[in-house]
Symmetry: C2
Subunit: 168 residues, 2 copies
Amino acid sequence: MKLTEAKQQFISSWGAFGTNWGINRTMAQIHALLLISPDPLTQDDMMEELNISRGNVNMNIRDLLTWGLAERVILPGERKEYFSAEKDIWKVVKLIVKERKKRELEPMLQLLDKLEEVEGDKRDKSIKSFVDTVSSIKKLGKQADKTLDTMVKAEESWFVGGLMKLFK
Amino acid sequence: MKLTEAKQQFISSWGAFGTNWGINRTMAQIHALLLISPDPLTQDDMMEELNISRGNVNMNIRDLLTWGLAERVILPGERKEYFSAEKDIWKVVKLIVKERKKRELEPMLQLLDKLEEVEGDKRDKSIKSFVDTVSSIKKLGKQADKTLDTMVKAEESWFVGGLMKLFK
DNA sequence: TTTTATTTTCAGTAAGTTTTGAAAATTCAA
DNA sequence: TTGAATTTTCAAAACTTACTGAAAATAAAA
């Protein structure tokens, strides 16, 4: 397969992958493009490579910046802004985990704390069923939270090299 | 907080949570409703509780069945079909991981295998950058695949009780 | 059978999300 | 300053996905 085709396939499937995970397609595609690009790119480069409008590039690149997945690069003597992506995939994963944990898992756990204290007789079966479900989700969620904290602090080698041996 | 209100909040935030993860809101809401319900429910019950149409309930309940997250329950002497959800949250997580791994991670890894073999001189910097990125994603992906396999086979206690002590 | 209850399907519509493109704002150089 | 290059914004349009509701199919009862 030729590089041009391979790039296109990578970008398009990274985009499709993203949509399954609640990430908008263009954001994922821009990210993919920056990941495989040896040098930083301008917004015009991205418009051209991905055939999308200026506004679209601009909005999505700024989302990538807030996630920490891309950064602005100023090239001396150049007027335009350039952008590049974090290339260390383990760092990328950690950034995403950190952000989603903060945005989704933590608020969910807070809510579950409140819901667990629903008023009423715990022997009533609808109350019992509700509280049991909420508690068990909370328990697992809290554990997931801790595990992800550890992961976010860890080196890639922890994951790739060390972890699995112990659990075979 | 009253049970009725607590239920509504749970259902609505479970639905919102789902949409962030590529799961349609109604499917997540039906799932939430079944999770907290002490007894199996009919499609009419769900229509009423969630204020949605018959067709919508029917399509989404059937998706839940194919994911293994809900099951049909036949009550003797009753004409209507009833549905209930798997209440063991650890099992729920494992079912979801299993399905998404199959649908998303595995095809992605297959694609990366192909893309890694792009033709051309590996010293060319655009080729090198592409291959390096693809390889490092593949490496991490393969490891994630194995880790998830182990997780899918594991008991909840492995996760909640045993795992973390070792990595503190 | 025929009738009645229940479930399933799916075309059309509605709702939600993403994208465009042109205008406004900003930045830099002359 | 002024003007050109560049970035940002956002209302409207395009696209995508989800939902409705009525009709068709199926299953159970009479």
